[in-house]
Amino acid sequence: MKLLQTMLALQEREGWLSDETLSQLAKETGEPLYRLEGLRSFYPVFQEEPGAKHVIEVCRDVVCRMHGAPAFHEELLQELRQDPDVEVREVSCLGRCEQAPVALVDHHHAASNATEVRLALDGQAQAHNVLQAVDAATDPYPTADAHYGMFKTLRDGAADAGRDTVIDELKASGLRGMGGAGFPTGMKWAFTRGAKGGPKQLVCNADESEPGTFKDRCIMETLPHLMIEGMIIGGWVVEAERGIIYLRHEYGEAAEILRRELVRARELGVLGPDAFGPGKPFDMEVFISPGGYILGEETALLEALEDKRGEPRNKPPFPTNVGLNGLPTLMNNVETFAAVPMILQNGGDWWQSQGTNDCPGLKYMAVSGDVAKPGVYCVPMGTTVTDLIARAGGVADGKQLLAFSPGGASTRFLPADKADTPLDFDAMQKAGSALGSGAFVAVAEGRDLLDLATAQARFFRNESCGKCVPCRVGSNKAVAMLEDALNGEVEDGLAELLHELDDTLAQTSICGLGQVALSPVTGVMELFPEVARRLGTKEDA
C-alpha cells in the first residue's frame, strides 16, 4: 500500500510522474526502476506526460452511449479544441449512470452537458447530488444514536460462541455476495474464520466499476454506518485487527463521507485501540484505487494492496486462505457488509422472508438505460423484471421493452419476453443470464443490440490487464471484427469464429473478466435472430 500511496501523492502534487520523479523515488525507497515503471504504466491515475491544466473525462460505456455519449464527447472536443488548458479524453464507466451521459471535470465534478462542463471549468460546479436509494429498508436503526448497536451487543454480550452464532445467522439468511459472484456469505466467513494462520485480514471491495453499476456508491454515501458496522462485525468474527476499504478513485464524495464516518466510529469506541474489548484493537482505513475495473477482481485488488501491478492471481488458493500478504482474508462487497447489521438484528429467517417468489432477502438494484426514473431501488429479491421497470417509472418515452441486461456488462441481454423472470441468482441463470452485481439496464425498441453488446465487449477489452493470452489478444481481435461487422463488413465464418473465441476465453482465461468478455456478444447472437442474421448465421442458429 505504501509505495502506491506514495506514487499517488506524487501524482497529486506534480500532476504527472516524470522519469526524474521516479528515479528520485527509486533512490529514496531502494525500489528498482523497472518496478516503478510497471506500476506507472499500469494504473490509469498515473500520467506519464505533464498534461493540460484541466481534464475532462467522458464516459464511453454502454449506458452513457445509449444517452448520446459519442456526440457529447465530439461536442466537447470541438468546443474545447482551441483551449490548450483543457484535455478531453474518453474513459470507462464512471459509476454515475443515472445521470448519463456523464463527464468528470478535473476528476471531481460530474457534468451531463456542455453547459455544466463549462461551469465546472469556471469553478462554478454544481454541488454533488447525493443519490438516495428508493425504498431503502436495510437500516435497523431508528436514529443515529443507535448506530453500531448490533456490534456493541455482540461484543459486550461476549461469549466467544457469539462469533459462530453470527456465521450461523448469515448462513440461515441465505445472503450471497452482492459484488457479482453470489458466493454464500456465511460460508465465506466460516472459511476465513477457520483458515490456518493470522492475523486475519479484512477488506471491503468498494471498487464497483462495471458499466451500469452504481448501487455501492449510493450505499456508501447514504448508509456508510451499515457498511462499516458490517466490516467491524466481520473483523470481530474472523478476529482481524485491521480492515481496508478499497475504493475506486472516481468516488471522491464517498471517500470523504466514509472517512468522516470512520472518525465518528472511533469516537464511539467501535474502532480504535479497545474496539474489540480492553486492549483488543481494530481499525480501518480507506485505500484509494489507482484505477482500472480489473482491480475489482478480488485477487487483482490484493495485488494492488501489495504494491504490484493489479493482475489477477491464478486460483486456487483463494483469498479466504491465502489473501493479503499471504494471510487469510475476508473480502466482501459494500452491499454485502451493509446487510449484516439488519440480518443480525432481525435474524436470518426474517431476512429470508423479505424476498418474494421463494428468493431470500433484499437487493439494491442500480437501474439505468431506457427507464423513466433511473436510480437505485431496494427491492425484495425475487421481484420480477417487469415490476422493477415499473418501479423505475416504466420504459422511457412510453416505448416498448426490447431487451434487458439484468446485472452488469457481463450479464447477457435477455429478450423482453423474459421480463417475468425474478431478480435472483438462480432464476437469472436459468433464464440464460445472471444477476451479477445488480446493474440493471433496460433497452427499448429501436436500439441496436449488436452495437450495445459490442460496447460491452469493448469495455472488457479496454479494461483487460493483459496478463493472459486469451483475454489480452482474444478480446482485441473480437472487438476489431465486431466493429467491422457494424460497418457492414462481415467476413465468411465470422459468427462461428466469435463463438470459438468466446469458448476459448471462457475456458482458458485466468479471471472472470476474460471469461465473460465475449459472452454479451454471443448472447445477442443466440437470443436475437436479427443480430444473428447480420453476422451471417442462420436464423435458427
Binding site: Y34, E37, G292, C465, G466, P470, V473, S475, T508
Partner: protein
C-alpha cells in the same frame, strides 16, 4: 504436512505425488509432456500463456503449471476439447507474430513456431496485427536484439532478469493489448542498466530477444571515446 501426498490419474495413469505438486510437474514425472510457452523448469510458474491448460472436470480448463494436484483428480491433458483451445491460443499468438523470427532463422528453436508446426496450424483466421511491426524493434543494445512484435509476454525474461539473475531491469509496461516488455523506466535496452548477461535472451522462447552478430561490433579499450 510435508509428508502428505495426493493420488490422482493423468491420462489414465495413476500416480501419487507430494501435496502441492503442480499437474504439469506430476505429468512430466510420468513422461507426459504438456505443451507450454511461459513455463520453464528453472522458474517460478506464472500461468500466463495458458497453453498448458488441462481438463480436470472443473467448470473451466486449468493451467497445469500453476494448478496443484488434488486427491482423486482425473486429468486429461490431450482431449479434443483441450487441443481445440490450444489451437485457438496459438492462432491468437500467430496473428500478431512477425513473418520472420530471428530465432527461427538463426537457431531454429523458436518455441512458438515449432509448436504451431506440431499442431499443424497453417491458417490464422484472426486479423493480422503484425504487419509493419507496430510494437517496434529495439537495436540499441550491441549484443541483444529486441523485437517487440515477436514478444508473447510469457514473462520468462522478466523472471530471468529479476528472479534468476537479480539484475532488476525488465518489466511488463502498459496494460491490456498494449502491454510490452520494457527496461528500467521504459528506456531503450542499450541505455538501460542492463549488464548484457544474456539470461533474458537465453530463456526467451520466441524471436523477441536474440543474439546480435558480433562480427561488426567495434571493441574499444576502456577510457577511449
Amino acid at each position: 504436512m510435508s509428508n502428505d501426498t495426493v493420488k490422482l490419474t493423468i491420462d489414465g495413469q495413476a500416480t501419487e505425488v507430494p501435496a502441492g505438486t503442480s499437474i504439469w510437474d506430476a505429468a512430466r514425472e510420468l513422461g507426459i509432456d504438456i505443451p507450454v510457452l511461459c513455463h520453464s523448469t528453472r522458474m517460478r510458474p506464472v500461468g500466463v500463456c495458458r497453453m498448458c491448460v488441462v481438463d480436470t472436470g472443473a467448470r473451466n480448463l486449468q493451467a497445469s503449471c500453476v494448478r496443484p494436484c488434488e486427491d482423486g483428480m482425473e486429468v486429461d491433458t490431450r482431449s479434443e476439447k483441450v487441443e481445440k483451445h490450444r489451437r485457438m491460443l496459438l492462432e491468437m499468438l500467430l496473428a500478431d507474430y512477425p513473418e520472420d523470427s530471428a530465432r527461427d532463422a538463426a537457431t531454429g528453436d523458436d518455441e512458438l513456431l515449432n509448436m504451431a508446426r506440431d499442431y499443424g496450424i497453417t491458417e490464422v483466421r484472426l486479423r493480422d496485427g503484425a504487419s509493419g511491426r507496430p510494437q517496434g524493434v529495439d537495436l540499441s543494445s550491441p549484443v541483444i536484439a529486441v523485437d517487440h512484435q515477436a514478444c508473447i509476454l510469457c514473462d520468462r525474461c522478466v523472471r530471468g532478469c529479476n528472479e534468476l539473475q537479480h539484475n532488476d531491469v525488465i518489466t511488463r509496461s502498459g496494460k491490456g493489448y498494449g502491454t510490452r516488455i520494457a527496461f528500467d523506466l521504459n528506456t531503450p535496452m542499450g541505455e538501460s542498466t542492463c549488464v548484457s548477461c544474456g539470461e533474458c535472451m537465453a530463456v526467451c522462447p520466441t524471436g523477441a530477444l536474440t543474439n546480435r552478430a558480433l562480427a561488426d561490433l567495434k571493441l574499444e579499450p576502456l577510457g577511449s571515446d
